[in-house]
Point group: C2
Chain length 347, copies 2
């Protein structure tokens, strides 16, 4: 195969090789292969030439060098999803939906799992270095850390942040409308006669309590009730730690009669914990989870849960797409995702 000198490095054909094989210039090949900018090319290249180019591409096994393209275009058409983990069906649904939506708009999605702040920082560094045009960030621990995201925003990273307790400023914001749904769940437990509720948190003793706990405390306060400090446990993030926490909670002399878990996996682990101690759900302990994942419907009893009413992530993707088209639009938007309470047999 004839190849240009540069190929000595790669052993792979380059655009010049394709051009030579098709008897056209590299510009023509470039126009034919031009990614999203097909419109520009449509009027330029004759069908016959295009066919000849495509055939030469196929014959040579040519693949475009994305780095050269990006360097020149100064745009990757790639978006990063930064997420703390990829364990729940919710996360997977989010990833799948976003990919489909962005794909339909000529963008591809890369997912990076960032369980720690350090990893998130590193990943956003990659965006700054040109590995993607923008990012959708769903942070667990650091939701509410307005300043942190404003710092990133200052680095000109088009960014959609999904989280609680922030104001869009330098980034667009998506917030689950969790408060009313959680209030419904609390009301429901109180209706059922529960007065002491155990709370399974992600992490306790952070500098600020997590938002779902704030909502529960608020609603209990509305009814003249409160969360007892000894009824608050951490561990909801992992099934095993949730299981252990709930067992300790229920092993006490006067355990709470209901448990609110900030995750469904924590709620399901709580059911296992109750079963392992020969406690009946919901007669001995009522259990509520968060997220309303499908798995809630296969447990015995099925798990009551607070979660997204209509898990449609198109508006989230739209936020970033708009920002990529118009990076300098001054006003940043705040999207509220509807949530609801879905009572089942576990309460």
């Amino acid at each position: 195969m004839v190849r240009s000198t540069a190929a000595k490095f790669t052993s792979r054909p380059m655009m010049a090789d394709v051009a030579r094989a098709a008897g056209v210039s590299v510009a023509t090949v470039s126009y034919v292969l031009g990614g999203r900018r097909g419109d520009l090319e449509a009027s330029r290249i004759s069908d016959e030439t295009r066919a000849r180019v495509m055939q030469a591409v196929a014959a040579s096994g040519y693949r475009i060098n994305e780095h050269a393209r990006t360097l020149r275009r100064n745009r990757t058409d790639r978006v990063l999803l930064l997420i703390d983990r990829m364990s729940s069906p919710y996360d997977q649904h989010l990833a799948t939906s976003l990919e489909a939506i962005l794909g339909a708009h000529g963008r591809s999605l890369s997912i990076m799992i960032c369980p720690t702040l350090e990893r998130l920082d590193n990943a956003l560094g990659m965006v700054r270095r040109g590995l993607a045009d923008g990012a959708i960030v769903q942070p667990w621990d650091i939701t509410g850390q307005q300043e942190l995201f404003e710092t990133y925003a200052r680095e000109q990273i088009p960014m959609v942040v999904m989280g609680q307790g922030m104001t869009p400023n330098g980034f667009d914001l998506v917030t689950n409308d969790e408060a009313p749904a959680i209030a419904d769940a609390v009301d429901h437990l109180i209706d059922r006669g529960h007065r002491r509720i155990g709370f399974l948190a992600h992490v306790v003793n952070q500098d600020r309590p997590e938002w779902r706990m704030v909502h529960v405390v608020d609603r209990l306060g509305f009814h003249g009730l409160a969360l007892a400090p000894e009824d608050i446990r951490d561990g909801a993030r992992h099934r095993l730690s949730a299981y252990e926490s709930v067992r300790l909670l229920l092993a006490r002399d006067q355990p709470p009669s209901a448990i609110f878990s900030v995750s469904d996996t924590g709620g399901i682990a709580a059911i296992w914990a109750a079963l392992s101690m020969d406690l009946r759900v919901p007669d001995d302990v009522a259990i509520v989870g968060c997220g309303n994942i499908d798995e809630c419907r296969i447990t015995a009893p099925q798990l009551s849960s607070v979660g997204p009413a209509t898990p449609d992530f198109f508006p989230v993707a739209k936020l970033l797409l708009d920002r990529l088209e118009q990076p300098s639009t001054p006003e940043y938007r705040h999207l509220l995702m509807p949530w609801g309470f879905f009572p089942r047999a576990s309460t």
Copy 2:
């Protein structure tokens, strides 16, 4: 801030800006920032100059453009992990371990979730196009499709494939040593008096049965037994579908007395299914899973499982690292990962 003309596109400082601020040439800045090739630079740049450069970098908020670097170096120092999903602790452990190991060798890891063959194909296309130097591939459905991977190998993609029923040829191969562990599990069920075993597969009616089924059939055959076609169901991939499949299986007049699931999540869903039908585990149905994930230890009863004996992925990473150092080493290696059977209360 003084900046070179090119910055008009990015509004971000470039190496020339840093060089000017530090009063040195771009070459010097490049040497100071030179990624993995620190050794080359050590002897060149004086400590004083380096300090001045680093300070200029910090002051300007400069970030290197990875695309320009890669275009010039013709190397990304990035590795892709292609995995069909990221739901089990096993997958997460794999990703975390690989990242740590590769990081220690100056490489970064990007994860791409590829639930379909199309997506895998697309991701490997990205490697060909220069987005990474190589890939570690853990395919579920397509394990055993030797030809498919040979096709990719022909494209010069340094690749480690994790799967069953293949021969390393153009790629290095990692195979779980599942057969003896699965044989142990089958023996154990037969010891317990089970003669008819239900099988929960990922997908049935593919052109070839999945390997875990082959191993079960083999061992049953050794004992003069067989899998009845009506005892084979699919759906192990998702908890909900597994639940439905097992309920249908157990609702029959003469259900099998034991179930072997090709996944732990399927096995756990089977426990829920049994509980929902007021069947006792293991008295009415014994259940075995695959993967030996932590969650096996919080179910009631705890789930017996076949899985990795020592989940150490360093040798896997080493395979790829060696290949990246020596792309043209002719012989391809085959690594066997030890597996075992871990009996618990569910059998």
